[in-house]
């Protein structure tokens, strides 16, 4: 999985040294942190805003804000989790600007849980990815994730796409662990429901 490759093999103390150096004004050290996490921040920003220009702006603003506020980073959480928190806030702010008619907040909770009750109960084709070509598949996955409410989409992206733990996701979003779990369940079930329409077993797929 590419999502967390940048963190693999990077000793924590190396990161602490980079953060300390950047805090004392070493832009070169901060640039190394940018190289380490820019892909992750871009993916998160793009998933939340669903807009390429906004995602580019979020990457710049989030890193600049992180550099300006490194003095406030206490080191109680990982630097990456702290950075994600800044990036998510920036991304949600941009989404709000684009969709002022809809209140967009990470605290937003849809009142009814009806949207997560499984209705489409059909097993998937043994190789769902082979039902479509790469372009079509990407479009289906993209369209489906776009349909989630921003608060659910954000939790799903951090937890299941970027590979943060439940605790790290809670920390990055300022939510409780049960709130993250509840949103994650509903996000997963809603995506499953919608993807089933595309991937369900058809005649001729062979029986189990």
């Amino acid at each position: 999985m590419e999502a967390i490759e940048s963190k693999v093999g990077e000793p924590a103390n190396d990161e602490t040294k980079l953060v300390d150096a950047a805090r004392s004004g070493d832009v070169g050290a901060f640039e190394q942190l940018v190289r380490r996490y820019d892909r992750n921040v871009f993916r998160i920003a793009q998933h939340i805003t669903q807009n390429r220009e906004d995602a580019e702006d979020v990457v710049q603003d989030a890193f600049l804000k992180a550099f300006q506020n490194l003095g406030q980073f206490q080191g109680q959480s990982k630097f990456y989790t702290w950075l994600v928190r800044i990036a998510v806030n920036e991304a949600l702010m941009r989404l709000r600007r684009r969709r002022p008619e809809r209140m967009v907040s990470i605290d937003e909770d849809v009142k009814t849980e009806d949207d997560s009750i499984p209705r489409e109960i059909a097993d998937w084709s043994p190789n769902p990815e082979q039902l479509y070509n790469q372009g079509e598949l990407k479009e289906i996955l993209q369209k489906t994730i776009q349909g989630l409410a921003p608060s659910f989409r954000t939790v799903f992206v951090l937890r299941d796409v970027e590979g943060l733990s439940t605790e790290e996701t809670a920390d990055a979003l300022g939510l409780s662990v049960p709130a993250v779990k509840s949103r994650l369940l509903r996000a997963r079930l809603q995506l499953r429901e919608r993807l089933t329409k595309y991937f369900k077993r058809r005649n001729g797929d062979g029986q189990k």
């Binding site: 004004g25 832009v27 640039e31 993916r43 710049q60 600049l64 109960i121 097993d123 990815e129 369940l185």
Partner: protein, 95 residues
């Protein structure tokens, strides 16, 4: 166990963070409830398909453009801070 109870535990079950006893109860339910078996199986596939297919890439040219913009802004911020500090020193030397 009812299907609604199974669903409540589904996330912890799929993430493998569940105690042995609850896990056994869930698997017992899965053994006879086809609907929950299908929901569990296809939810697992949903997670895998999103993990396996990277929908967003940061192209190299955009990556270096963004990085150099970030570095320039950070250098500017550092410069502004140093100037502000020097101005304070001038007003109140030694403070």
């Amino acid at each position: 166990m009812k299907c609604s109870e199974f669903l409540k535990e589904l996330t912890d079950y799929l993430d493998g963070v569940i105690d042995t006893r609850t896990k056994a109860e869930l698997e017992e339910h899965l053994h006879w409830c086809h609907n929950c078996y299908v929901v569990c199986n296809t939810t697992q596939k949903t997670i895998e398909i999103y993990r396996d297919h990277q929908l967003v890439e940061l192209p190299d040219d955009l990556r270096s453009r963004l990085r150099s913009a970030i570095v320039t802004k950070c250098e500017q911020h550092k410069h502004d801070c140093q100037e502000a500090h020097a101005a304070d020193e001038k007003k109140e030397p030694g403070k």
